[in-house]
Symmetry: none
Subunit: 220 residues, 2 copies
Amino acid sequence: MEMIEAIEARLVEPSSDAPKYVVLRDAIVGAISSGDWIPGMRLPTEAELAQTLPYSLGTVQKAYGELVRNGLVVRSRGRGSFVASTQRQMADPWHCRFLADDGTILPIYPRLIGREFDIVSRFYTSNAIAKPLVRLPRDKVETANFKAILLQELGMPIVRVTQTVESANAPASRELQMKERPRLVIKATAYTIGGDTVYFQEFYIPANQRRLLFDSELKY
Amino acid sequence: MEMIEAIEARLVEPSSDAPKYVVLRDAIVGAISSGDWIPGMRLPTEAELAQTLPYSLGTVQKAYGELVRNGLVVRSRGRGSFVASTQRQMADPWHCRFLADDGTILPIYPRLIGREFDIVSRFYTSNAIAKPLVRLPRDKVETANFKAILLQELGMPIVRVTQTVESANAPASRELQMKERPRLVIKATAYTIGGDTVYFQEFYIPANQRRLLFDSELKY
DNA sequence: AGCGATTTGTACGTATGTATG
DNA sequence: CCATACATACGTACAAATCGC
């Protein structure tokens, strides 16, 4: 029951003209992405939410439905709704991700540093966007995912990403400070809904046995 | 009004235990993918469908909502619902493509054959899908793009593709009949709107200087 | 500019089906 | 068999964007 209070605390947003199901959805997203609710934890039932909060059953279902579609929540008849395992959640820092042997997703962050190999990335964006970013705590910028940051901090959703993959033999550049020479170079450009470029990013990846996953469904 | 008849004709499925919104959604998918309804064409309004057919407003909205999420339909308040423009509906031969130096897209087909290097691909699908495919003229299957074929011949639109890229050092397999050893291996899985897997495809790509393009916008 | 009519978007309340435990 | 909880479905109401008059 105190779960509902966690939602209540995150609701409002003064004079938000967002639809109720969006407000509710985002409150739950906040509770999950903040770490308040951890994977596997049981969420309030539809009925509980509808009775306790000023939302109808349909509104609750619409909010939950979006969370399911976006992979933050899993639901099962007769059992309940649960915070999805971290692996398919929105904190995916990348547009593409590495897969473990068992098909689970390996976490990678801008700074990364895996135990397996190092990836170097460069990030380019406009001043208007860079300014709010550099004001953020350094650890936040370096460990989180740019898409999520831009959405949360600047309300700027990325709706399209194009990426290129090169298997070129890039020279072992001292500039990149990599021990190994990159085997793959990925270049990604992110666009807003208006088609404007928001940022451009390069990844230098050494030889490795992992599989990179590209999914045509954009997830936050 | 005769648009609704086009839906009615595709409804049924005897004793289909699928939810009503799925039946309706698939009927509309059929009308679009068969070419009966062309891009830009106006769809029946929610009210029309709800009044004419045995569907409530909510059910119609749920069906339309899925079509919008999957890019087959665009809707606008006060204006109506429309078949999405062909531009977002694909004719690109691949899920990903090679770029020329000037940024233009190099055509690649299942059999390929670039002047630059050879790509070998394997295609896996169910019998139900394979049968109509093998009846097609061989040159058609080998030069065209599976997504387009499936859409045109079987009325089966692909709405989502996941791909993995491996830079692994695959052995120069005699089985693949490649002169050069593959440097990149791409594996792609294609899904219908219902989330069912339609086909699985592997690509073996030798070392080259080209850039592979992945675009998060699914285009037909 | 205003004023309806149309059409999608949101929201409510209710009812019933179905898988889980 | 029963209680729980999600899934589907219905009918209704109103808000908001669009278009034509």
